[in-house]
């Protein structure tokens, strides 16, 4: 089996301490993981995770505190939802979501940390080095920065537990459907945006991405409204669009 690259983002108070304890107790595990310390698992941004996959990681591991133990009280609750969002994005980009793993490891679970590292490394070895279509993965990478998905990832917990402003509580099933739909929407939008690095018409994009022209057009209108694209020229009575490269527009 080929060697695989794994990155681990560990929270300072629990999982990083658990990893240290594994060392103190000399629990061995494969040397494939490179650990990066963050203060809280809540710091981990889906955009960061996807960037990591774009730059050589075959597997990404996030370690946080068990619910109730978070040093910052609730960061891990938010982390859980953000990482679920990242998994949805991986899936829609055609990357196995199992390459991203979230695990709660307390500061006293040295043995468990080592066991999880062993297990995860094995799993990634079986999946093999990551293969992805760079356009698709780049699309979800910029989708993760999109305000719609960021709002949903953060608000998911509140909507499931406390309910929305009307007092309506979402079930997990409803939430999953909503999120999957939104992810698909934003992903398509970003794929179109990437395609428009070169000037293209709606028909060309529809062919490229295997989407219906009216679906593409819906996204085009939205992208235009946010000034992310503009009309490049008119060709054969059809507008040709291009991504906006002005500095002040994200």
């Amino acid at each position: 089996m080929e060697e695989v690259n794994v990155i681990g983002f560990l929270c300072n108070w629990c999982s990083y301490a658990g990893a240290d304890l594994a060392g103190v107790s000399r629990f061995q595990y494969p040397p494939n993981v490179r650990i990066i310390r963050v203060m809280c698992s809540g710091r981990v941004d889906p955009e960061l995770i996807l960037d990591t996959f774009l730059h050589g990681a075959d597997g990404v591991f996030i370690g946080g505190c068990h619910f109730g133990d978070c040093h910052y009280l609730e960061g891990n609750y938010y982390a859980e939802k953000k990482i679920e969002m990242a998994k949805r994005l991986l899936k829609v980009a055609g990357v196995e979501p199992e390459r991203l793993r979230l695990e709660w490891v307390s500061a006293s679970e040295g043995g468990r940390f080592a066991a999880v590292m062993k297990e995860f490394t094995e799993e990634i070895k079986v999946l093999g080095p990551i293969k992805f279509d760079i356009e698709r993965l780049e699309a979800v990478h910029i989708a993760a920065a999109d305000y719609k998905l960021r709002i949903l990832a953060t608000k998911e917990r509140e909507l499931l537990e406390g309910g929305n402003k009307y007092g309506e509580v979402f079930t997990q099933h409803e939430m999953d459907r909503l999120l999957d739909d939104m992810v698909q929407e934003v992903y398509e939008s970003k794929r179109i945006l990437l395609k428009l690095k070169k000037p293209k018409s709606v028909k060309e994009i529809a062919l490229d991405l295997n989407l219906k022209p009216n679906e593409v057009f819906r996204h085009i209108l939205d992208l235009r409204r946010h000034e992310l694209i503009e009309i490049h020229e008119i060709r054969d009575n059809r507008p040709v669009y291009i991504a906006n490269t002005r500095e002040d527009v994200e």
Binding site: W13, S25, G68, D69, S106, S108
Partner: protein, 412 residues
């Protein structure tokens, strides 16, 4: 530690004297704490480091107070620093000495359930992480000295007596678990599979001697466990009529942890009165019953008998005036928690009085940290049974009284 930390943070210099090799106390021996099921050492270790590293706190471990002179505002305290036989300034906690030492000694921290070497720290998260040689068992073979990269071994280290001048003293010496060997009806020490609650804690602890597996003497993992409450407590026979206050809750915790490790296991708690009075306690008990299936049986056992297969048969009398039996493969005795052995001698050194049960006597029942000697305050379990949050509040309370002495010049 809480008292020392509060004082230090307020700018007051503190000398923290700890009898064992590490700060942390009994909480370091626990796996999890009720009712939140927080990992004990995880939440404790940062506090241990904070204390040790604080610029205003001098931590003297493996040390004991041997004499006190003077009075409030001007105490002179003599402290005996027992020799570790290791140079504290040089040892960096690498553990090479422990790995080569040929001696195997039962580790008190693990309730004698695990062997440590003669060069040791009591547990891996000890603060300070400075090794010591067990002088009683040391063979002077010289192996530790030869591997120590820091040249820190000192076979001829002697006890050092130091003196400190302080305005106030806080006593927080904690408790010992009651030894139930004398209660022959329970068979502790006789039967293979009757253990105490603190021993159970070490078994179920992931960093403990069995890595979190609750194993009987014959190596089998448990399927049915029973906890027996009030062992040695609420007992007028031996002048221990008081209630240790935390045992009902720690038994509930241990039962929940057992169910988490072994969802199929049967867990029963045999109790007299269920002391579930604290914040979150009733809800915790409800969870244990409803979510985890822990069985609560009111009825104190009269007798435990060991069967041939080393299982235990418990004879108890529940509400219905009958005698029932319960067969289990392990019995955990929720032992009372009692004042430390040797506390009378220590109280003499301090010049403070103890009450009839050897808890530190308060000058006034509504001034919960003042002993009978002005300037000496008391915190924690050694004054009366209390749980961890109450001990921490009590520690801060003792600190506030000491602050009044130092900051306010208050000599009452």
């Amino acid at each position: 530690m809480q008292a020392a930390f509060d004082l230090a943070e307020a700018g007051i210099k503190v000398c923290l004297v700890e009898r064992t090799l590490s700060v942390g106390g009994r909480m370091a021996q626990l796996d999890k704490t009720f009712p939140t099921n927080d990992c004990a050492i995880c939440i404790l270790a940062p506090k241990m480091m904070d204390c040790y590293r604080h610029e205003n706190i001098e931590v003297l471990t493996f040390s004991e107070v041997i004499a006190i002179e003077g009075e409030i505002g001007t105490f002179k305290v003599k402290i005996s620093k027992k020799p570790r036989f290791v140079d504290e300034a040089k040892c960096n906690g690498c553990g090479d000495c422990a790995r080569v030492c040929p001696m195997g000694i039962l580790n008190k921290f693990d309730m004698d359930l695990r062997v440590r070497s003669g060069a040791y720290v009591p547990f891996m998260q000890a603060v300070p992480l400075i090794y010591a040689l067990d002088r009683a068992k040391c063979m002077r073979c010289g192996l530790c000295e030869s591997v120590c990269g820091q040249d820190a071994i000192r076979y001829n280290q002697k006890e050092e007596i130091v003196e400190r001048e302080v305005s106030a003293i806080i006593v927080a010496i904690g408790f010992d678990p009651f030894d139930p060997s004398g209660l022959t009806e329970y068979g502790y020490g006789k039967y293979d599979n009757v253990i105490t609650a603190l021993e159970f804690e070490r078994l179920i602890c992931a960093a403990g001697p069995t890595g979190g597996h609750v194993i009987r003497k014959d190596g089998r993992e448990v399927k049915r466990i029973a906890w027996i409450q009030c062992v040695g407590a609420r007992d007028t026979r031996d002048n221990r009529p008081y209630c240790s206050s935390v045992c009902c809750m720690y038994a509930t915790k241990e039962a929940i942890l057992t169910k988490e490790h072994y969802p199929e296991a049967e867990t029963s708690i045999l109790y007299t009165d269920l002391r579930c009075f604290g914040k979150g306690f009733q809800e915790y008990v409800n969870r244990a019953e409803d979510d985890y299936g822990v069985e609560y049986i009111r009825g104190k056992p009269g007798e435990i008998i060991e069967k041939e297969n080393k299982n235990l048969e418990i004879f108890y009398s529940p509400s219905s005036d009958k005698v029932e039996t319960l067969e289990v493969d392990m019995v955990v005795l929720s032992t009372a928690l009692i004042p430390c052995g040797g506390v009378e001698k220590f109280a003499e050194i301090l010049g403070t009085e103890l009450d009839g049960y050897k808890f530190f006597k308060l000058k006034d029942p509504y001034n919960p940290t003042e002993t009978t000697r002005a300037g000496i305050f008391v915190a924690g379990y050694c004054q009366a049974p209390r749980d961890i949050p109450e001990c921490i509040a009590h520690g801060s309370a003792a600190a506030s009284r000491a602050m009044e002495v130092v900051l306010g010049g208050s000599f009452l």
